[in-house]
Amino acid sequence: MKFTYKWGDRPLDGYTLKRGLGTGGFGEVYFALSDGGKEVALKLIRGSSEIELRGIANCLNLKHPGLVHLYDLRTDSHGQRWLVMEYIQGEPLSTILPRHPRGLPIDQARRWFLQAARAVAYLHDHGVIHRDIKPANMFVDNERIKLGDYGLSKAVGPSSHGQSSNVGTIHYMAPEVAGGAYSKQIDIYACGVMLYEMLTGELPFQGETWAEVALKHQTDKPNLRKVPGDYAAIIERALNKHADRRFADMPAMIAAVEEVDRPRERGVPKPERIGRPVPDVAPSADVPVVRKWSPLAGSLLAAPLMAVPATAVWAVMTGVVLWGQLGVLLLLMIGTSWSVLIATRLYEGAPASQGRRLLLAGCGALVGAAGFWLGGWSMPELWLKDEPLPEGLVSWWGGTLRGEAGSLDMLIGYMAFFALALWVPRWWLSAETRRRERFTLYPLFATGIWALILMGIWKNMMAAHHLTPPNYLVLAVVGSAAVVQLVAPYIPPPPVRPRARFRLGERRWI
C-alpha cells in the first residue's frame, strides 16, 4: 500500500497526517489530527470533475447516526481537494465478515443490516443514490454500522473498472448498471447482496474474473437454499434481475426485514435460528415440502443400496456366507441407517437437545425388536387366559406374558443394545448436510468400540442363561456408520475467503 504523504506531513493547513488508512478508487485516505486535537479521516480526492465534487458538496450537511459524518471539503495549496471526514476507529464490515465464514449470528446480521439500510433510506430520501454499497463501506463503531463513501460514487460504472482494482465492487453491482442505468434500485440490489453475504458468509455471485461475476449478475439466480428461510424471499426480491420487480424503495425492504422477526416478538420462539450455522434447508414453513423432504427420501432410498456392499465386505472378510445371517445384517443396517437419517433430518440445524437422542433411542429399540424377530426368535405373547402353559414355553409376570425360554431376556437385550447404540454416540454428526467431511473413518471406530462394549456387557449378562447374542449385530452398527455417511446429502463447508479479497476490502477504506 503506497501513500503519497507520510507521518508528520501537513498538506492541508490545520491538519497533521499520522498514518495512511487505505487507498482506493478515489484516492488515498489518511488519519490526521487537527491542530486542536480532533481525529479525522482525510480523503485526498484525485481526478474528480466539478460535477462529482458538487455531489460531495451536496452530501456535506447530511446528518444521520448511520452515516460517516462529512466535516468539510477543502482545497490545499496545490489545488488538491481533501474531504475531511469523521474518523471511525472500528473495522469495516469487510474485515469482520471473513471471520464468520458461515455468516454472522442471525440477530446481529439483522440488526446491522437494518442500521445500514436505514442510512441508505435516509440518503434516498435526500435524493442521493449511494451507488457503491458494500461491506468495505460499512464501518462498525461500537456495535453500530456507519455507512461511508456516499456522494462520491458517481464514477462507479463498468467503464471505470479495471480488471483488478475494483473487483470488490462488482460483486454488489446490479445487472442494469452495465447498461448505464442508475436508480435507487441499484442500491436495493446491493443491499440484497450484502444481506445475503451477512447471513451466509458468502457472496451470491462469485467468479474468477470480473467478467464472470458480471455475467452471473445478468443471468444466474442466487442460491437461496443457504439463506435462512424467512430471508430467502426478501433476498430473492431484492436481487431480481428486473429493477421494477425489486422492492419499490428502501423503506419497503426495511419493512420486510423487520417483518421477519415479528412472530418471535409475538412469542413464538425460534431459538434454533440464533447464532447457528444456517442449515442447508431450514425447517421452516417457507420451504416447500418437496424441497424439505426430497433429500431425505433420496438418502433413505440409497441406504439399502449402500448397505449391500457393506454387507458383502463383511461376507468376504469373514469368508463365511450364511445367507440368512447376511440378510438379517442387511436389514438391521438399513433400519439403523434410516433411524439416523430421519432423526438427523428432523433436527437438522436445531440446538443440541435430548429430543434427537430420545428419537434415536426409540428407533433403536424398534430396530432391536426387529433384529430379535429376524434372528429367529418368536415374540413373547400376552397370555391372559387361565390355561396351562404348553410344552416348552415359560411365563413371566405371573403368567401374563409367555414365550420360549430366555426369549424375553433376549428381546430386552436386543432392544437395549440398539437403543443404547443409537442413543450414546452423536450419530447426527455423520449425517448432517454441513458436516465437515463427506466420509471419515472416525464414526466407524467410535460406534464400533461402543457396540463392542455393549456386546461385551450383554454377553456377560446372558451367560447365566446360556444364551449368546450374535456378533454380527456389532457389524450392523458399524456398517450403518459407513452407510449413513455415504448416503446423507452433503454440502462442503465454504472455502476460506482468499486473502486477496480480504486485503482488498481493507484497502478500499474510502
Binding site: G8, T16, R19, R503
Partner: protein, 209 residues
Amino acid sequence: MNDEAAARRNILWIDGAGAWLVCLHSPITIGQASGESSPVDIPLLADVSRIHATLTREDESWLVESTRDMTVNDRPTGRSVLKTGDRLRLGTCDLKFSLPVPGSLSGVLKIENGRRLPMAVQGVLLMADMLVLGTGDKVHAPLPGVAQPVYLFRQKDRLGIRWPGPFTIDGEPVRDRAMLPAEGCVASAEFSFAIEALHRNADSTPGRR
C-alpha cells in the same frame, strides 16, 4: 540521523494497519487520562482512578498490581501474574492481555469494551526485548503485506530495526539492520510506519511536530 534516546512512550503509526502505543520501560502505570497533566503511561478515557494499576515486568512474566478496584478474569485481586489471554477490569475498562509471540516477553494490551485512550491507537505494546511486526497471529502488531516480519529491538537506550532487505529511515537508504531515531519514518517497498515520541504533557498527540 539523530542519536536521541528513545522516549519512554512512543506511538507506532503503521500505514494501512493501525497505531499502537509502545511503552518501553517497566513499571508501566495505568490510570485516568486527565489531559495535559496525566501522570500515567497508559491513560484511559474511562472511570478509573488517577493511578489505577501498575504493570511490572519480571524475569519471565508481567505482574499487575492495584490498590483499587481490579479484577483479573472476573476475580477481584490486588496482584496477579498475567498469562496470555487474561482479562483485566479496571473500573469501567476491560482490557485483554496477551503474549502473542512465543518466547517473547513483550505483551499486548487491548481495550475490549469501547473505552479508549486519548490517542487513536489499537492497543498498547508492552515492549520487553523486542517487537515483531508482521502477518498472522504470532506478531505483536499486524504489518500487512510483508513476507518477512520486521523486528524492533532495544539496544541500550535506543530502538533498532531488523528486516532482510533495503528500506529507508527518514529517506536515508539502509538495509537489514539499523538504529532508529527517536522519531521518524521507516519505509520499504512492502511497508511503511513512523515512530513518534510521546512526551509527558502530551497525551493528546501534538498537532504540530
